[in-house]
């Protein structure tokens, strides 16, 4: 049986939910006839028809507002932002309306906003950003970013069934670079649960998205040097699995907080706060943050490589922290 790519896993997950629930529909720019910029919705128009696979004008705020209205009126929209970078055009609708509906008037918004995020694809400043933090900072939203094909399928299905708005960040570099054998029977992956991607005992790397694989590669190289590294894949940023974060922190006592997003205001700071507050007495070294520098995402190959956290960088910090 062939392996399933990350992008195909998401497509299958959406497809299965659309088969299962007639209120689920997809809406966005170029999603129907064209099948989406990354082909996540390929074939859906033929199967589900134009009422459930909807091409829209180029209008992110309009799309999010329409999705929210449809959710209020009994549907379960899956909205595609062509690139996560452009989700900012719908920021007001997401943060001022969709996120606040339940708190303001008890209204569920069962809506998924899918957004291809992340770099390492030579996309430059407008097609490579990691935009999670403004949404992580908005009460009322859930924020998810899978690192594997298995999780991508299970989490998109869970997101579609969730009764709160979910920002579903898909890593563009992972779309076709990771694949695995998926179960043939339906499954979901719960939102809000981290997963130990790799077990270890000396150092914990807490991360998510593509960086799970970067951490894993560094951990493999460290193992050859006798350093046992645990990699915790958060999978969900909101609600954050604090239990899993503190468990790995208390287990290894040496922590690296790794993300592809830029350093200042990134999730690493929040994780450091949680660990500092609740596991301070367990720490045997400083909390180490590895992140992209505080710049826009550059285009040129040499610059982008310098910008993105690498397994070399992670290995170097791992060695340093191990010896600390």
């Amino acid at each position: 049986m062939p392996q399933t790519t990350y992008v195909e896993a998401i497509r299958q997950g959406i497809w299965e939910e659309m088969e299962r629930d007639s209120t689920v529909f997809v809406m966005g720019e170029d999603v129907a006839v064209y099948g989406g910029a990354f082909k996540v919705t390929k074939g859906m128009l033929d199967r589900f028809g134009e009422m459930r696979v909807v091409d829209t004008p180029l209008a992110e705020s309009g799309i999010v507002g329409a999705g929210t209205g449809a959710a209020i009126n009994g549907l379960r929209p899956i909205l595609e932002m062509q690139f996560a970078d452009f989700m900012g055009c719908g920021f007001d609708q997401i943060t001022n309306f969709a996120a606040k509906c339940r708190y303001r008037w008890g209204q569920s918004i069962p809506m998924v906003i899918r957004a291809p995020a992340g770099g390492n694809i030579h996309g430059g400043p407008f097609h490579s950003q990691n935009v999670e933090m403004p949404y992580v900072h908005t009460p009322g939203l859930k924020v998810v970013q899978p690192a594997t094909a298995y999780d991508a399928k299970g989490l998109i299905k869970a997101a579609i069934r969730d009764n709160d708005p979910v920002i579903f960040l898909e890593h563009k570099y992972l779309y076709r670079s990771v694949k695995e054998h998926l179960p043939t029977s339906p499954y979901t992956v719960p939102i809000g649960k981290a997963k130990v991607h790799r077990e270890g005992s000396d150092i914990s790397i807490i991360t998510y998205g593509w960086m799970v694989h970067v951490a894993d590669e560094a951990a493999g190289r460290a193992a050859a040097e006798g350093i046992s590294v645990e990699v915790l894949d958060l999978r969900t940023l909101v609600p954050l699995d604090r239990g899993a974060v503190l468990a790995t922190a208390k287990k290894t006592s040496k922590i690296i907080l790794l993300h592809e997003d830029t350093l200042t205001g990134g999730l690493g700071g929040e994780l450091a706060g949680i660990i500092g507050e609740h596991a301070f007495d367990y720490l045997d070294g400083p909390l180490v943050r590895i992140a992209a520098p505080d710049t826009p995402v550059p285009f040129s190959e040499t610059l982008e490589k310098a910008f993105l956290p690498s397994s070399d960088q992670v290995l170097e910090k791992t060695r340093w922290l191990y010896r600390y």
């Binding site: 529909f25 009422m51 459930r52 909807v54 829209t56 004008p57 209008a59 705020s61 309009g62 799309i63 999010v64 507002g65 329409a66 999705g67 929210t68 209205g69 449809a70 959710a71 209020i72 009126n73 009994g74 549907l75 929209p77 007001d92 609708q93 001022n96 309306f97 339940r102 708190y103 303001r104 008037w105 008890g106 209204q107 569920s108 009460p139 009322g140 859930k142 969730d162 009764n163 709160d164 609600p239």
Partner: protein, 332 residues
Amino acid sequence: MSASATAPLRATFDRPLCDRLLYYMVLMRELEDRIESKLYRQGKVLGGCYTGRGQEAIPVGSAILSRARDWLTPSHRDMGALLIRGITPREILAQYMGRATGLTKGRDGNMHMGCARRHCVPIISSIGASIPVATGLAFAMRYRDESNVVFNYSGDGASSRGDWHEGINIAAVMRLPIVFLCNNNHYAYSTPLDKQMRIADIAVRVKAYGIPAEIVDGNDVFAVHTATQRAVEHARSGKGPYFIECKTFRMSGHSAHDAADYVPRGLREEWSKKDPILMLQKYMVEHAGADEQDFVDLRQRVLDEISEAVEWALNQPYPDPATVEDGVYEVR
């Protein structure tokens, strides 16, 4: 005075309908007046305080045509629409006072209220943001092949927002069943229309998107009602959205704290001669067999209803501080 208000009584504007329209317009006028002139100044209502004084004909003349399964997205000068949908003065006052029994349970204030059961989406304070939301509500109606429509309310200021243009365009492209009611009251806070746009009519903008748009005297409840009827028939029969620009004037400041000194002297006096309630009453005397005593009695009945509701609301509990974190996410 517009033509329709002096025209002979037509069957659709019989006495019972006139009475209903007048009741909701007077209730809106007096309830807002009690909130702004009394409760706000007495410190019993905190926060912002917006009224639709002088604009009552727009929400009342249109929302009276809504059916139970239609959806409404009223703006902050459309209290009459909420009243017509069955939201009570008690609930509105408890909302203004931040009480636990208000429509948002103290989560939000003043006119920022709605109710899913009665198909009213609460105001989104980013003006114009309700337009895309209306397209989604309408899309779901089409999805289920219903003949319901959305009544969307906004003002002149909203038509400068990107959301307005995105939403109007989506509604046009997808031919969605939406009746857009625009209250062009000539001021967005302190900004007059000529600083908002280089044209006089918002309808011109709308027509460019391929949506039928008409301009009516927003102070003439029959004109609003008649146009809305046309619009609703258009939308219900699958012909897509319809836009009604209601020319009116904001007879108050932007909110209770605003004396509106920026409004040229005399302009408000001029518009006060076109008071929508007085216009309706004049019509009712001339064509529907009403007399002044009927209006005195109605006003008294409304004032009594409001007084009772104020007493009730003042005795409602505040939300329990321990619940401050509740309701952000679904609890399963």
